[in-house]
């Protein structure tokens, strides 16, 4: 199983290189850097924080979009070309294919996060850049897993990307949404308020708190770095859950 897994992971990396993903990522990082420089030039004061903040926010979101698109197109292409059927016709367990693909995407996520961190080394202290880069890699890997699962289940690029995008937005906004639902402007006694509040609490329970991961404030020094252990545990547990859902779906698909 491990040999097949490693081979599939290696082919995923190769696919990333052949589809010019590194160049696209570097182009995206370059664009984010130019936009950050532009915002710093416009700022009257504290231009450094504008540069860092704009760069980190743009590159974080941009890389998530890039990775999600890459994962969805790769997997759909493989399904459309019947390459998955060919692979599974050999003595390769479905779990090996899934985990091999996921390992490849995680490796790509790590490379992308390192690319993104390099320009920051000249502007921010190393420890903060390292923490941010690791967190970004974890976030990208998590999104890779979500998109892989969504693509295996939905089998089309557009629905898979939409589901992954919606998940990302929700995971980043869920804390704020929960807080808004408890604000004094809502009518507390209305049944609709209570239903929505309970529903949001349930969703929050099942969501990873992505708004607390790879926050730009870590780089700006405006907030202390959170305890790494708790965040790592949350990301890991959610990743395992996504992998389990993905495997469950993959084993049920009858090609």
């Amino acid at each position: 199983m491990s040999r097949a897994l490693l081979s599939i992971a290696r082919f995923t990396l190769l696919e990333g290189r052949r589809s010019r993903l590194p160049w696209i990522a570097l182009g995206l990082i370059g664009c984010a850097f130019v936009a950050a420089e532009f915002s710093a030039a416009l700022a009257i004061t504290d231009s450094s924080s504008f540069r860092i903040g704009v760069y980190a926010a743009l590159v974080r979101t941009g890389l998530v979009v890039l990775l999600v698109l890459f994962v969805a197109t790769c997997v759909v292409r493989e399904l459309s070309d019947r390459m998955l059927d060919l692979t599974l016709a050999r003595p390769v367990p479905r779990a090996s294919w899934y985990l091999g693909r996921l390992s490849g995407f995680c490796a790509i996520a790590l490379v992308l996060a390192l690319f993104a961190a390099v320009p920051l080394l000249a502007m921010v202290e190393y420890a903060r850049v390292l923490a941010w880069a690791v967190a970004l890699a974890a976030e990208l890997a998590l999104l890779g897993a979500v998109c892989l699962t969504a693509t295996v289940t939905l089998r089309q690029v557009v629905p898979a990307v939409l589901v992954s995008g919606a998940f990302y937005v929700l995971a980043r906004a869920i804390d704020a949404i929960v807080l808004m639902s408890q604000g004094p402007t809502v009518v507390p006694d209305a049944w609709s308020t209570q239903v929505i509040s309970e529903l949001l609490a349930l969703i929050a329970l099942l969501m990873p708190p992505l708004d607390r991961i790879a926050a730009t404030s870590w780089l700006l020094g405006s907030s202390a770095l959170p305890p790494a252990g708790a965040l790592a545990a949350e990301v890991l547990i959610f990743s395992v859950l996504v992998v389990a859902v993905g495997l469950f779906d993959l084993y049920r698909v009858d090609d």
Partner: protein, 254 residues
């Protein structure tokens, strides 16, 4: 693309166990996770209108509404309710200005000014909000008369400044004729004068209004006529008690 599904029994037991364990772990960690942090922050100055127009991407009316929702949510930062008097009203006014500039037909900023932020027990802040409404009333009296009317109420009853209430009511009355502005709003200055003790002036204005033919509704005419009679009765009472000012005013009218 619609692949057929195999039965659930086709899924290896290890995967099922992993799914159940991961779900249980996720729910556990989600329930023990520290809740979202709340922190009271101060209201920032708004960006310039050109910047906001860029951000709006052509949807300025939507951005104006989002600004107002955000501003409203700012007063109620989750977990902490910020009293209005703790807000920086200079910045608040700037945000209201921006929302109104982005969508001049949007009534919410004016409503918020008089009904939310003007309802604070602080005379300076109340005056500031009244001045905001007064300044913007001129630009579109047809749409904004109701906020001006509310500003009159605010000045008269909450602020207790009858001079200001009269000035506002007179501006309201002086607005160009338009069926959108009801006559009661235009008549407010008469009743403010009455409250100020300027009964003779109120009588003259009310009488003039009735004679002008502007009031066509019979019920309204009857109500105003009754009011005029009351004023005349009060004026006569004041006259018999020898109030020189009322007498002089009556003489002027005659």
């Amino acid at each position: 693309m619609g692949a057929a599904e195999r039965p659930v029994t086709a899924v290896p037991r290890a995967v099922m166990v992993l799914l159940a364990l991961a779900l249980a772990a996720q729910i556990t960690i989600g329930s023990v996770r520290e809740g979202p942090a709340t922190a009271v922050s101060t209201l920032p100055w708004p960006p310039s209108v050109p910047t906001l127009r860029v951000v709006a991407l052509g949807e300025e009316a939507v951005l104006a509404r989002l600004i107002m929702l955000w501003l409203q949510a700012f007063d109620y930062q989750p977990g902490v309710s910020i009293p209005f008097h703790a807000l920086d009203y200079g910045r608040l006014e700037a945000w209201l200005e921006r929302a109104l500039t982005l969508d001049p037909g949007f009534q919410y900023p004016l409503l918020a000014a008089v009904r939310l932020y003007g309802d604070v027990a602080d005379a300076d802040r109340q005056r500031r909000m009244i001045a905001f409404v007064r300044r913007h009333f001129v630009a579109d009296p047809q749409q904004r008369w109701q906020w001006m009317a509310h500003a009159v109420y605010l000045a008269k009853h909450r602020l207790g400044d009858l001079e200001l209430a009269l000035a506002l009511a007179e501006e309201l009355a002086a607005a160009p004729p338009d069926p959108a502005i009801p006559s009661w709003a235009r008549q407010m200055h008469i009743f403010v004068r009455e409250d100020m003790g300027e009964i003779e002036s109120a009588k003259v204005l009310l009488g003039g209004l009735l004679e002008s033919g502007e009031i066509t509704d019979p019920h309204e005419r009857w109500f105003l006529s009754q009011r005029l009679h009351e004023l005349e009765a009060r004026s006569d009472d004041a006259g018999t008690q020898g109030k020189p000012s009322s007498r002089a005013a009556s003489a002027d009218i005659e």
